[in-house]
Symmetry: C2
Subunit: 341 residues, 2 copies
């Protein structure tokens, strides 16, 4: 017994006005007279009318939704960013669609579809590792709707972006270890082709050089941002003849895995080695030991990205639009770092 869908027509009939008037009352109440406004809102209330967004979207040529593209839905790192994005979007009456690159088998064709088939008005990309052809498609998509990257970014592409102070954060980490007295500092990196990996690795090397410290090649330990990667790195560290006294990991997950694996080998942090992460995920504070790390406020990253994208959606071609935002990070000192010995 599906009730007949209520339409503007029904409301108009009840209110004794035209559909145009009802529509105006709903979207721009000020252009309607006080008395009409009242009649219409009464009719809306009494009928229980709800606007059909699909119809409105078709008419206005807007989807009123935004697509967020993640590398991997199962990575908790992104949860807070999504929360930030969704929070701003919903305040603007927009919804958030989510897709993960992992799932988009047909290499981008599917992604472009979201923008081209009018399901989304713009896109926030959280995966800097998009295939180059996908990137090009995005940049040249016929409808060319706004696309923006957050956290990561895409080298060689000119999408606006929201990032955190990766260089500054990395340098702060190294300096913290240096100030504790460490002179032998290693770095566990993210996956090789990742922009964050490259940025942090370069900043790390720069700072080490500036401090005139040694940096044997094997002190740059390749990782992949994951717990497992951290475990592998720990075994690499254990196998070194000349062990660094401190290790800066490019992500908290790496650091947690690193510490966990050391612990399985009877090596204790920070007694035998100091370990730092990057991100300040929820668990960093609860780990044993609580993790010293570089904090990025992912909620704000998400909100900022959503705001920038919305402004481009609402004011296309605005030359005033900011092209990038760099958000601050901060050093959070906990118990996983200590003076050497």
């Amino acid at each position: 017994m599906a009730l007949k869908t209520l339409t503007l027509q029904d409301v108009a009939r009840v209110a004794g006005v035209s559909t145009a008037t009802v529509s105006r009352t709903l979207s721009d109440p000020n252009v309607v007279s006080e008395s009409t406004r009242r009649k219409v809102s009464d009719a809306v209330k009494s009928t229980g009318y709800r606007i059909n967004r699909t119809a409105r979207n078709l008419r206005t040529q807007r989807a009123h939704s935004v697509l967020v593209l993640l590398p991997d839905l199962a990575n908790p790192f992104f949860s807070n960013i999504l929360e930030g994005i969704s929070s701003h979007l919903s305040s603007q009456g927009y919804s958030m669609l989510i897709a993960s690159t992992k799932q988009v088998h047909d290499s981008g064709e599917r992604l472009i579809d979201y923008l081209d088939d009018a399901r989304a008005d713009g896109m926030i990309v959280l995966d800097g590792g998009l295939a180059p052809d996908v990137v090009e498609m995005l940049a040249n998509a016929p409808q060319s709707k706004p696309v923006l990257t957050a956290c990561e970014w895409i080298d060689g592409a000119s999408f606006p972006s929201v990032r955190c102070e990766n260089r500054h954060g990395t340098r702060a980490a190294v300096n913290h270890l240096y100030d504790l007295g460490h002179r032998k500092i290693a770095h566990v990196t993210g996956p090789a082709d990742n922009v964050l990996t490259q940025t942090r690795k370069a900043a790390f090397a720069d700072e080490i050089a500036e401090l005139r410290l040694d940096l044997p090649p094997d002190w740059i330990i390749p990782g992949d941002f994951s717990l497992i990667g951290g475990c592998d790195a720990a075994r690499a560290w254990i196998g070194m003849k000349d062990r660094p006294t401190a290790v800066f990991c490019a992500s908290d997950q790496l650091a947690l895995g690193f510490i966990a694996e050391l612990s399985r080998h009877g090596i204790s942090v920070p007694r035998h080695v100091s370990v730092m992460g990057f991100d300040d995920i929820d668990l960093a504070e609860q780990f044993i030991p609580p993790l010293t790390t570089i904090r990025q406020d992912r909620l704000i990253i998400g909100e900022t990205a959503a705001k920038m994208l919305m402004s481009r959606i609402l004011n296309p071609g605005d030359p005033q639009a900011e092209n990038s935002a760099v958000l601050p990070v901060s050093l959070v000192i906990r118990d996983s770092t200590a003076p050497p010995q």
Copy 2:
């Protein structure tokens, strides 16, 4: 220089057929002759045409998307479930919209909107704690689109649901501890008003009774599924005159917080006390010590929920539709449990 949007008209003109034929070729190629099909697909290719989903949706009265409602976007527990849902939906050409109850300020009005304003064809609710009035609105929504709960469920409402074997998992946990030799077993619960809390707590008490073990009231320690809740519970445990030798926590996060707090007090797991969780989140395996827990496969929970919802969307009113699925859990024995002493 936004190009004019390509429409079916354009393709029809190029192919030398009617729009009806183009539409048919796209949606149901079999009803079209071989030669026409070829002409049309050539035209689609040469023009680069992409269907406008909004128009199709308006015409077919389908949104081709599903809303997923979470209690909290920032909780990593849900990531894998979302991955499972999204994976099945996208294989069916559906998209996934996400909202969190935390954000829906206007108490459900906003939620119903998603279903009523034609943005979603159905809804998967992962939050059993929805306000009763919201639940009633959902059940009685004029359009009454399919709604389904997963993981948690709503007492008193008759939505179809996907759950895991909460009772069985709880009993398996208690038995594991019993088999190790523990006779003094405590339970840290989730938030009081949560259905999972109630189910697991009852199953715990039942099994303890069946094993003829003591259960002083303060051995049921109130928690809230979170890390912090686990820390609080640990302090409660520490303060007990007669300390249980084993603790079954209603979630992994609780267990991790519990262990972390004990460790800060110099109490070691499993030497001084055995601790178990429930869920098997990614981190459980990497924690120190690796956590013994009850594993639920959240990817499959998500996929199952998506499948059940899709079947209700595609075959509304099908009396054959399954009304609930109960998914298996398994005991994963790691290092956080050991014989007493």
